[in-house]
């Protein structure tokens, strides 16, 4: 499941440049990840982890380069690209329930002008169940703990039946129980054949869970299987010498 | 690049200067008396009296509303260049006051000596108008020919004082016009007399025809817009009462002046099934060629419309 086959299978980035305004820009980023890969995006603050994630998500326009999945532009398969946001980026006051949010994952497949049907509701309930939120779909999204709130958005991603899953700092402020559930979710995405990319500061998680790692510092310092790439030397180059490695 | 900008700016300034200096251009040298009239009826009467001896400018032209007129800088220039300024007064041309600081000796209020009319206070929800309160007096005095004759005489006197060389002509013109007004008076009487007595109750949009209706025996049983102002709106109860009045008194038509869009009056007319006549001349006169650009023409035009609607 972790082999890098040719163009035809998996996510391909080539010469990707993207940025916010005129000040910051990612230099040309190129790498490949296969279905089932869990890719960690690491780097110091301001390195561009979030920027890259958003570029892959299609939220930021590409200044140059391309992002393809299985030979076709990823943007054409946007329906199956799932973005799990950081908690602080969510509007918790919006009058929606957990089920409403998970159902949003089904919107594209429902299509324009149609309402969610029984099948969609079933899929959404199923996703909530898998995230341990069974029976709580009717609650307002603010009526959950922090860990549970993340699981709502994971359930939404599940409901999308994604081929690419993007996670923005998923391990921040998360307790042991929720961490475990998050691991299960990531493994399930990978097992279903999706490419999982997560931007994170948690190097421990990267070393234990990621199959590939992309080291960013406004450019791609290194990319490759974790085993080979996650070395002291690479880390020092990525973080500019501010790393203490404990074994 | 900056040189281009500078030369463009310079050209712009020169152009502005040229425009500013040109002004009205037609200078003093033709010897005619410069007369400025505030509102259209005063201007029309001044034209009758002054004839070719005067150069007349009317501030609020035919069709415009004097109640909400704002004086422009062109107007101010005309006022300071004028030899005589003729005003209606009685609250109709309040806009003049702010422009008159130094020129007050030139101003003549042509309505001195007319017979005034005080409208009945119909109810206590009478709105007070905005900034141009007439007090209690109806300013549309020229709609009574006797008043118009007084105005014409006052104008002749004012013009004669400013321009004694032509005093005789002014008086002659004034007399001729007074005779014309008498003819019109007789014609209007005949027109109104042709209306059956039971059809002489009317509703008006705005109290601008009081002198006319008083003189010729038409009874105004209701007014859509409360008070003498033209900007207030009637309340729901006022509309309801007006509809009751129309039904009870057998009113045949609602009369509105052409200068105001009488939306509420139209709805009332539709709801009660009566006609609406929306092109009378109340605060002002008609445009050139309408037949109502003179006071005598306006009175006849209005009279014909009343007669036709109420027959």
């Amino acid at each position: 499941m972790n082999s890098n086959n040719g163009d035809r299978s998996g996510l391909v980035l080539e010469g990707v440049r993207a940025g916010h305004g005129s000040s910051f820009e990612l230099a040309g980023i190129s790498f490949r990840a296969s279905r089932g890969d869990v890719v960690g995006l690491i780097g110091p603050n301001g390195a561009g982890k979030s920027t890259l994630l958003k570029a892959i998500a299609g939220v930021l326009p590409l200044r140059a380069g391309r992002i393809d999945f299985e030979g076709r532009p990823l943007r054409q398969q946007a329906e199956h690209v799932a973005f799990v946001p950081q908690r602080e980026d969510v509007n918790w006051d919006f009058p929606v329930s957990a089920l409403d949010v998970v159902l949003m994952g089904r919107y594209r497949s429902i299509g324009w002008l149609r309402r969610p049907g029984a099948k969609d509701r079933e899929r959404a309930e199923e996703a909530l169940r898998r995230m341990g939120l069974e029976g709580m779909g009717h609650r307002h999204i603010s009526a959950f703990s922090g860990g549970q709130q993340q699981r709502i958005f994971l359930a939404r991603a599940i409901a999308q039946e994604p081929v690419v899953v993007l996670l923005d700092e998923p391990f921040t402020g998360i307790d042991a129980q929720n961490r475990q559930i998050l691991h299960q979710a990531i493994d399930a995405f990978a097992a279903s054949g999706a490419v999982v990319l997560m931007a994170t500061h948690d190097l421990e998680e990267v070393s234990s869970r990621c199959t590939q790692v992309a080291c960013l510092n406004q450019r791609l310092v290194a990319f490759g299987p974790t085993k080979d790439t996650f070395t002291e030397e690479v880390l020092r180059e990525t973080f500019g010498g501010r790393v203490v490695v404990l074994r | 690049m900056s040189r281009t900008i500078v030369s463009l700016l310079a050209a712009l300034l020169v152009a502005l200067g040229a425009v500013a200096c040109s002004g009205d251009g037609d200078g003093a040298a033709n010897g005619r008396l410069k007369v400025v009239a505030t509102v259209a009826p005063v201007g029309a009467l001044a034209a009758e009296v002054g004839g070719d001896h005067i150069e007349l400018r009317t501030l609020v032209s035919a069709g415009a509303d004097p109640h909400s007129y704002e004086i422009s800088s062109k107007d101010r220039r005309a006022l300071s260049d004028a030899d005589v300024i003729l005003r209606n007064g009685l609250g109709l041309d309040r806009f003049l006051d702010s422009a008159l600081a130094d020129d007050s000796e030139k101003v003549v209020t042509v309505t001195a000596g007319v017979r005034l009319r005080v409208p009945n206070e119909d109810s206590d929800n009478h709105t007070e108008d905005d900034g141009h309160d007439h007090g209690d007096v109806d300013p549309h005095v020229w709609q009574d020919v006797d008043n118009a004759k007084v105005m014409v005489a006052n104008i002749a006197a004012a013009l004669a004082e400013a321009d004694p060389d032509h005093a005789a002509d002014y008086r002659a013109n004034a007399d001729a016009y007074a005779a014309r007004l008498d003819e019109v008076d007789a014609e209007v009487r005949d027109l109104i007399a042709s209306i059956p007595a039971e059809n002489r109750k009317v509703v008006v949009n705005h109290d601008a025809f009081g002198y006319f209706t008083d003189r010729y025996g038409l009874e105004v049983v209701g007014t859509v817009i409360p008070g003498l102002s033209s900007t207030a709106e009637p309340s729901a109860q006022e509309i309801a009462e007006l509809q009751e009045t129309i039904r009870r008194e057998g009113v045949k038509a609602i009369f509105a002046e052409q200068a105001i869009e009488p939306r509420v009056a139209r709805r009332i007319a539709e709801d009660t099934g009566v006609r609406i006549v929306d092109d009378l001349y109340g605060d002002s006169l008609g445009p050139e060629g309408s037949g109502a650009e003179t006071v005598d023409g306006m009175l006849l035009t209005n009279a014909r419309k009343f007669a036709e609607a109420l027959r």
């Binding site: 919006f94 703990s145 | 939306r263």
Partner: protein, 300 residues
């Protein structure tokens, strides 16, 4: 006696038309206003209600229905704001402010050039629901139906863009077009409501009932229904009160809406001041506090 108070005014066709108008306007404003409030668009709503003004004046001068001119300028504003705020250096609220002032000033200048206007200005600015004709009501109904139909057809997309524009973009939705569509719907709502309440007060109907409804429920569907109900109630009660008290209908309707908002603010079951005071006093945990997964509390 109460019956007379409630029903007598509506013996008159002009009051029946006014009633129909406020009901239609109430429904549309109540529904569309939910998105204005949830997306924090009160300022742009206010701007739109003013930028349609030159359109109204131009239509008037041309002798055509004011709806056309108003709508054209509403769309121009929507496009203008969307485009100008794409420039990095100009924030969206600056863009709105600039266009708002410019268009309104254009209207003022146009009016100053056409001396005969002043008197009609009042009813343009404040509306006169007592002067609507049957055609006016039909037109309002048709436009209102169109707005509501589009809103419901695209409800899930508009909701997604309002709640999570990042996901909307990620999932491939044309977010810019949807934002423009919402602005156009708001502009159309304002235009359709101009005759009832006028430029100056229309914002109140777009903001107050939804804000009150938000206090009553955490569920979007129920919020929209409550908002429409409150807006209609404000219109009907306001109209009735203005009849008996001899006050301006538009202003009375807005004050009624505000009173309802104040009542919700104080007495709403979960979010009202009384409720929150009681909860903290009795130590009862509110639905919005954290409940760990083990708790079996029945929250709504």
């Amino acid at each position: 006696m109460i019956g007379e108070y409630l029903l007598d005014p509506f013996d008159y066709p002009f009051m029946q038309r006014a009633l129909a108008e406020v009901i239609i306007v109430g429904v549309v404003c109540g529904l569309v206003g939910c998105f204005v409030v949830l997306r924090g668009m009160a300022f742009i709503g206010d701007a739109l209600s003013h930028t349609v003004f030159p359109g109204v004046v131009l239509s008037y001068i041309a002798g055509r229905s004011i709806l056309i001119g108003a709508f054209v300028f509403g769309v121009l504003t929507a496009v203008g704001v969307a485009l100008v705020s794409r420039t990095r250096r100009v924030s969206e609220d600056s863009a709105i402010g600039v266009i708002f002032a410019a268009f309104f000033a254009l209207g003022v200048v146009l009016i100053s050039r056409h001396a005969g206007f002043q008197r009609d200005l009042d009813s343009l600015l404040f509306g006169n629901v007592l002067a609507v004709s049957r055609t006016d009501v039909v037109v309002t109904a048709v436009i209102g139906a169109g707005i509501v139909a589009i809103l419901f057809a695209l409800l899930k997309e508009l909701t997604l863009v309002a709640f999570d524009p990042t996901m909307a973009r990620t999932a491939g939705y044309p977010v810019f077009a949807l934002d423009m569509l919402l602005l156009v719907l708001i502009a159309a709502t304002i235009v359709a409501s101009l005759q009832a309440v006028g430029n100056i007060l229309i914002l109140a109907l777009l903001v107050t009932p939804p804000a009150a409804a938000r206090l009553l429920t955490d569920h979007l569907g129920r919020m929209m229904a409550a908002s429409a109900a409150l807006a209609v109630a404000s219109g009907v009660v306001g109209l009735l009160v203005s009849y008996h008290a001899d006050t301006a209908a538009g202003g009375t309707i807005v004050l009624t809406a505000t009173t309802m908002f104040a009542a919700c603010l104080v007495f709403a079951p979960n979010h009202g001041l009384v409720a929150t005071r009681l909860q903290s006093r009795h130590g009862r945990h509110h639905a919005h506090h954290y409940h760990p997964i083990e708790e079996d509390a029945d929250i709504n």
